[in-house]
Amino acid sequence: MANAKELRKQIGSIKNTQKITSAMEMVAASKMRKAQERMARGRPYSDQIRDVIGHVANASPEYRHQFMIEREVKRIGYIVVTTDKGLCGGLNVNLLKATVKDIKKWVEEGVEVDLCLIGNKGVQFFRNYGGNVLAASSHISETPAISDLIGSIKVMLDAFEEGRVDKIFLSNNVFVNTMTQRPTISQLVPLDATEEGKSGYRWDYIYEPDARQLIEGLITRFLESQVYQAVVENVACEQAAKMIAMKSATDNAGDLIDELELIMNNARQAAITQELSEIVGGAAAV
């Protein structure tokens, strides 16, 4: 039977861990609310602009921006948005797994892959996994500014403009609800036409004042808003996943404590019983 003193020590240390995890759970819960709000506020814009861009890609404009032209794919780029810190369950693992699966599919077709990483976890992962990293930025704050992100994204977009990369994907977690975060990989450039518009008939916008200027401005805004939304969404995902992970850690610690306390009480009771029977045995022998 285990030593009671040892057991007590073990229980004490688990209780300390439990205190920490439950504090982290509460911190994550309050941060999540703010992050979720921020995400919800930005969503309509990024969804609408994606629709508009989808329409633009469907149209047969007089001016075609190079981001609208499909090329033969020899090399592709991924922008992977991960969290900076761990302790958030399977969030990053699931995303990286999905990304690697997608990358492998392209590699099998003989396409080379470049990476642009946002978030520390992705940087660490691809350091081990290998892969050609064009740009990396980590330690993005919980309230990211577009200017923080644009630097590393620009490297990728420049690569596209210079023809070094023929397709760019954005890989990030999408916040479904507190329990579910879905890893999603979406094509950023060349612009993806919406399904409904692939009907084939040709139409075009009236542009005021000038197609080139308008489309360029729209595309810049589109890319910025997509990447920004991806990062904001990732922050919300991180806090939600962290809250769940910490909640289950707290619950598990509680279970462990119950179990150990039972063992400890058993041991104590056995010791008392033994002592009693020894005394009774001794008295009988006299």
Partner: protein
């Protein structure tokens, strides 16, 4: 009943309006635009200024957009504004103060100001004030 079209006004921070409207009046880069349902596809920049929606049943609602883009499809109108406000929320005093400050900065040639930024500020504030006045007229 008059024909309607789905219109949404979104800014980078928030969705400000989404619903069926009979007509949209906005200030495009090269002039006022009045858009009715079934309009041919149109893509235009938006200047800082009022955006007037005529809702189902003829009621009017006034917004302020500080620039952005408008996309028109026969069945939908989308205004992607940089920032947008309901006319109710506009603060005349604040707009006036900002306008005065911008004017002062412009007048004070010695100070090291970014001319383009200040003059676009000024334009925006003037447009905001225009919107407020229009809103008052509509109410009176």
């Amino acid at each position: 009943m008059a024909a309607t079209v789905l219109c949404s006004i979104v800014s980078a921070e928030v969705e400000i309006f989404s619903g069926q409207v009979e007509m949209v009046v906005a200030s495009g880069t090269i002039g006022e635009l009045g858009i009715l349902p079934g309009h041919t596809p149109l893509l235009s920049g938006v200047k800082p200024g009022p955006v007037r929606l005529i809702l189902e049943g003829g009621e009017e609602e006034l917004f302020f957009a500080s620039g952005g883009y408008i996309e028109v499809q026969p069945t939908s109108i989308t205004i992607l504004a940089d920032t947008a406000l309901r006319a109710d929320d506009l603060d005349e005093a604040a707009a006036l103060a900002a306008q005065n400050k911008a004017e002062q900065e412009l007048a004070d040639q010695k100070s090291d100001v970014d001319f383009a930024r200040v003059s676009s500020d000024l334009q925006e504030q003037a447009a905001m004030l225009r919107t407020i006045r229009k809103y008052r007229e509509g109410k009176a």
